[in-house]
C-alpha cells in the first residue's frame, strides 16, 4: 500500500468548499482527548509547528516567528485533512484527501517517509491505540487502521450502519477497549470494539429525534458522561450503561477544559459552558464571541483558564476568561478564505506550549499568539492555503487521560 510519491492535482479549489462544509470540522478533530504530548521524546521538530499548504509544508518556529524548514517533495496541490502526531512525536500522520492517502512525516528528517492508501473521502484521524492510527473514510463510513510501525492498513472497521457517512471517534482510557463513533448518517452512536476491530453495538437515538445523524462528541471524565451532537440536540449518554440520560436543546463543537470541569459548546456566536462535573450538565455561563468562534483551545495560566478561539467570519481571535466568562482580549490574526459554496466555515486553532497558532490562508500567514501575553507576536508568511497545523510538542488543546 505504500507507493512512491504520486502526482497531486488541484482538487482543493474544487472540493475546498465542500470539505470546509463538512459540518465545519475540517482539520484537527481534537475537541476531546487528542494531542497532548508525551514530552519524553526529543524529535528534531519539537517545539515547531507544521503548517500544511497545497504545495508546501512549512515548519514554523513560533518562538522565532519564522519558517525554519519546508517540505515540498511529494507534495503537489494536496488537500489536507486531520494531522495526528504519534505519542513519541517521531511521526506526523496527515490525511491527504486528493489521493485518499495518509502521509507519514518523519519529524526528525522532516520528510515524507510513507504514503498509505486508505478509503475515499477521509477527513478525521484518531490515535486510540498505541501503534495505530485510525483514519475515517467518509465515503465508506469505515475506519482504516494503520500500523505505525509498518505503515500498512491492517484492519478496516465498518462503523456507519449504511457503510457511508462522515464520522468521528470518541475514546478515552475510561472506556477500556471501547470507542464511540459518530456518523452523520446514523441516528445514534456506533460502539466500536477497538481490540476486535468491529462495531459491537449501536446506541440508538431515534427516540430523541428521527432522521438525524451524530457528529461532534465529547467526554466528561468526572461524570462518565459522553456528549453527542445529534441534529440540533446534544444527547448525553452514560458510558457505563449506554443509556441516554439527558438531552440538551443546543449542539455544536465541544471542548473540555484541562481541569475537566467545564465543557465549552459552540452554539453560533455563543460559547455555552457546561458544568462537566455535574450529571445534569448544567449550563454555567454563556459567552458571546462575535465573528463566529471555532475550535476552542485552552491555556491554564496559574489556575486561570483562558479559552482561545479564532473566528471564521472576521480576522480576529478572541480570548475568553473561563472564570469570569467574558472576552478579555481580541486579537488580529488575519483572514481566512470563505468559499461561496461552503455550508460551514472552519478555522483551525492550535495551542502549542505557550503559543496559539491559527492560519490566515487568505492573507498567507500563520498568526502566532503568545498566550501568556495574550498578544499576537508574529505573522509568519507561508504559502497561501494553509488550513491545517500540527504542533510538535505539548498541544494543550484539551484534557486527555492518555497521551494520544
Amino acid at each position: 500500500m505504500d507507493n512512491p510519491v504520486k502526482r497531486r492535482r488541484f482538487v482543493q479549489a474544487v472540493t475546498g468548499g465542500l470539505a470546509v462544509g463538512i459540518a465545519g470540522c475540517l482539520g484537527e478533530d481534537d475537541e476531546n482527548g487528542d494531542d497532548e504530548n508525551g514530552s519524553e521524546a526529543d524529535g528534531g521538530s519539537e517545539g515547531l509547528a507544521y503548517a500544511f499548504a497545497p504545495n508546501t509544508i512549512s515548519i514554523i518556529d513560533p518562538a522565532d516567528g519564522e519558517v525554519v524548514d519546508e517540505i515540498t517533495d511529494g507534495i503537489d496541490d494536496n488537500g489536507w485533512g486531520d494531522p495526528k502526531i504519534t505519542t513519541d512525536l517521531d511521526e506526523i500522520y496527515v490525511i491527504e484527501e486528493s489521493l485518499d492517502q495518509v502521509l507519514v512525516i518523519d519529524t526528525d528528517s522532516r520528510e515524507i517517509v510513507s504514503e498509505v492508501d486508505i478509503g475515499p473521502d477521509a477527513t478525521h484521524m484518531y490515535h486510540p491505540n498505541d501503534g495505530e492510527m485510525w483514519a475515517h473514510s467518509d465515503e465508506e463510513g469505515a475506519f482504516y487502521v494503520i500500523d505505525t510501525d509498518t505503515h500498512d492498513v491492517t484492519e478496516i472497521v465498518d462503523s456507519g450502519l449504511e457503510n457511508e457517512g462522515h464520522g468521528k471517534l470518541l475514546y478515552h482510557e475510561d472506556f477500556g477497549e471501547t470507542g464511540y463513533a459518530t456518523n452523520v448518517n446514523d441516528p445514534g452512536v456506533p460502539v466500536i470494539d477497538l481490540e476486535a476491530y468491529e462495531r459491537s453495538d449501536f446506541i440508538d437515538f431515534e427516540d430523541v429525534a428521527e432522521d438525524e445523524g451524530t457528529h461532534y462528541k465529547a467526554y466528561a471524565p468526572q461524570t462518565g458522561l459522553a456528549y453527542f451532537e445529534y441534529g440540533d440536540t446534544t444527547v448525553v449518554v452514560d458510558t457505563d450503561t449506554h443509556d441516554i440520560v439527558d438531552e440538551l436543546d443546543f449542539a455544536g463543537g465541544m471542548y473540555l477544559t484541562p481541569d475537566e470541569e467545564l465543557l465549552g459548546v459552540l452554539d453560533g456566536d455563543e460559547i455555552r459552558f457546561l458544568d462537566a462535573t455535574s450529571e445534569d450538565s448544567e449550563e454555567v455561563a454563556s459567552v458571546t464571541v462575535e465573528g463566529g468562534p471555532d475550535a476552542l483551545r485552552y491555556d491554564d495560566d496559574d489556575g486561570t483558564i483562558y479559552g482561545y478561539t479564532a473566528n471564521t467570519m472576521n480576522d480576529e481571535a478572541a480570548v475568553v476568561d473561563c472564570a469570569a466568562f467574558e472576552v478579555v482580549e481580541t486579537l488580529e490574526v488575519g483572514d481566512i478564505e470563505r468559499p461561496e459554496d461552503a455550508h460551514h466555515l472552519h478555522r483551525t486553532g492550535v495551542a502549542g506550549d505557550e503559543y496559539f497558532l491559527t492560519p490566515a490562508d487568505d492573507d498567507g500567514f500563520v498568526a502566532v499568539v503568545d498566550m501568556a501575553a495574550q498578544d499576537v507576536v508574529d505573522h509568519v508568511d507561508v504559502e497561501d492555503g494553509v488550513d491545517t497545523i500540527q504542533y510538535v510538542g505539548d498541544s494543550g488543546v484539551g484534557y486527555t487521560g492518555r497521551i494520544r
Binding site: R9, S98, D117, P120, V153
Partner: protein
Amino acid sequence: MARPESTDRRRLSTHRAGAVRAVAVLVAVSLLIGTFATPVAAHAYLSESDPANGEQVETLPDDVTLSFSGDGVQNAEIAVVGPDGEDVSGDAEIDPDDTQIVRVPLEDAAGDTEGMYTVEWEVLADDGHTTSGTFFFSVGDEPLDRDAVLEAYEDDEADESVPPIETAAKGLVLVALVGLVGGPVTAAIAVYPAAKRVGSAPGPVDRRLTRLLVGASVLLLGSVVALGLVQARSVGPLSPTTLSEFVGMPLGQAWLVQLVFTGAIVALLAAAVAGVVSHRLWLGGTLVGAIGVGGAVSWTSHSATAIDRLQGMAVDFGHIAGAGLWVGGLLVLALVVPPLLRETRSEDRAALAAATIRRYSLLALGGVTLAAATGLALSAWHVPDLESLGATIYGTALSAKTLLVLLALGLGGLTRFVLLRRLERSDGSIVAFTRAVRLEVGVLVVVLLLSGLLTSVPTAAVVDDGVETTTIERESDVDLELTVTPAERDDGEEDRLLVQEGEPIVFEVAFVDDGGPIESDRTVRLSADGPDDTFDVELEAAENGTYTTVQPLPADGDWELRITGEPDGQYLSEWVDIHAVADGDAHDHDEHDGHDHDHEEHGHGDAEASAFATLVQFGAVVIGVVGTVAVALEAVRLRDHRE
C-alpha cells in the same frame, strides 16, 4: 554506300542527346512520384461523430452525424439501436454538399430512453469498397454497460474478409487490360517490324493477335459486367431499380465508362475478325479503348479516391500501363510469336526471335521501370510500416506479389541475357525460349490476380490489429489482475498502459488466489488521477468473478490508476500507470473505427511510418532513375545493333 563519318557521329550524338533527354524526363517523373508519396488511407473511414464514441448526452439528439475521412460516401446504411434493442434510426442521408458527412435522424418514438445506443454503420465509398463499424453513446447518467461496449468493440474490428467474386473480377479485369494495352503496342513495335524484317507476311500475326485480343476483350467484358453487378449489390438486391440507382452514382458512372469502352473494343475486334477494319485501326482502337478502361479503373482506385483524384489516378494508371507494356507484351511473345516462328523459315527463326525479343526488351524494361516505380509509390501510400507487410492481408498479398515479380524479372533476365544470346548465336532453342516466356507469363498472371486482391481489401494503412486487451498483474498474497480494453503496453515503459483519450475503456479487476478469482469483502474502487482531473468509481461485480467499469480518461497525458478492494479480508491497494494518447495521435487499435484519429497514423508512430514510407519512396526514385538509364542504354544498344 558508306555514310560520312561526320554524319554518323552527328546521328550518334543526336541519339545520345535524345537518350539523355529521355533520362531527364524519367528522372523528373520519378522524383515527382517520390515527392507526392505521402501515406494516406483509402476507403471511407469514420473520423468522428456527433455524439462521439462513448459520449454521454443528457437527452437523445435529433440525429447522429457521421464524418468520414478518405473517400466520399456513395451509399450509407446506418442503424441506431437503442437500449431496448429497437432500431430507432430513420433513413441515412448523405450531405449533398459534402459526401463525407452522413446524417441519420432518430425517431421521436425513441423519446429520451436512457441507456446505451449502438450505431452500426456500413458505407459504400467512392472507390467501390464497403466499410463498416460500430460505435456507441449513452443517454443519461448511467455508466456504459461493459458487455455492450466489449461487443461493440468486437463488432468494430477491421473487416479484412476477401470478397471472392469482386477479387476475381478485378484480377481478371487487370489480366485482360494488360493484354489489351501491351498487346497492340508490342505487336506494333516488336512483332510486326521483326516479322517484316525476315519477310514474314502480316496475316498470320494479325490472326493470332486478333484472337488474343478478342479473348482478352471478352474476358474484360465479362469481368467488368461481373464487377459492376457485385458493386451494385452494395446498394441493394439486384434489380433494375438497384442498377438504375447504381449507375446514378459516381461509382456506377465510372463503371458505365468501363463498360462502354469495353463494348467498343469488343465491337472493333469483331470487325477486325470480320476483316472490315484496317490493321492500323483495330490496333490503335484497341489501345485507345484499353486506355479508356484503365483510366476508369484508376479513377476509382484506392489511391485516386483517397488522395488527390488526378494524382492518385495518374500513379495507379502508370502502374497499370507499365504492367501492360511488360505483361501484355509478354502475352504476345508467349501466344503470338511461337506460332509465327514455327511458320518462319528455319534459317530466319533465330533472327526473328532475337529481333522480337530485343525490341520487346526495350518496351519491357520501360514497363518494368514504370510499374516498379509507381508500385513502390503506391506501397508508400498504402503500407505504413514494415510490420504491416506481414500483419495484414494487403501487406501479405503485396509481399507475395513482390516476390513473384522478382521471380518474373529473373525469368525475364534469363530470356533477355541467356536465351536471346543463344538465339543470336543460332545455338539457342525456340522451345526453351517459348517455355521461359510462358512460365514468366504464368507467374505474372498470378501477380495480376494478386493485384486484384490488393484492390479488393482494405489497405494496410487503414487496417489495425484489432482491439487490444492488456492485462497488468500485481503480485502479493492475493494477486491483482487489471485487464484494460482497448489498451496496449507502452513500448517505452513496459508496465505502463496506453489508451486513447476520451475513449470508453473497459476496466476489469480480478483478485486471484490459487489460480481462481476471489471476492472482495469491500467495494472495489478505481480511482484515477490525471493531469487536471480525477475520478473515483465503484466497480460492479461481474458473473465471472471480476469487477468492472467502463470509463473514459477525459484528458490526454499521464494518469495514475489506483485499484482498491478487500479480497480474503486483506486490504489491497495497487497503482497502475496509464497514458492517455491525445486525439489524433498515433495509437493503432482505433485506426479502423477511426474516431477522432487520423488514418495516416499507425500504431508505431509517425516517425517509424514516415521512415518506412521515405525508404520506399526513395526506392521508387532509385528504380525510376536506374530504370530510365537502363532504358536509354537499351535504346542505344538496340539502335547500334540495328545499325
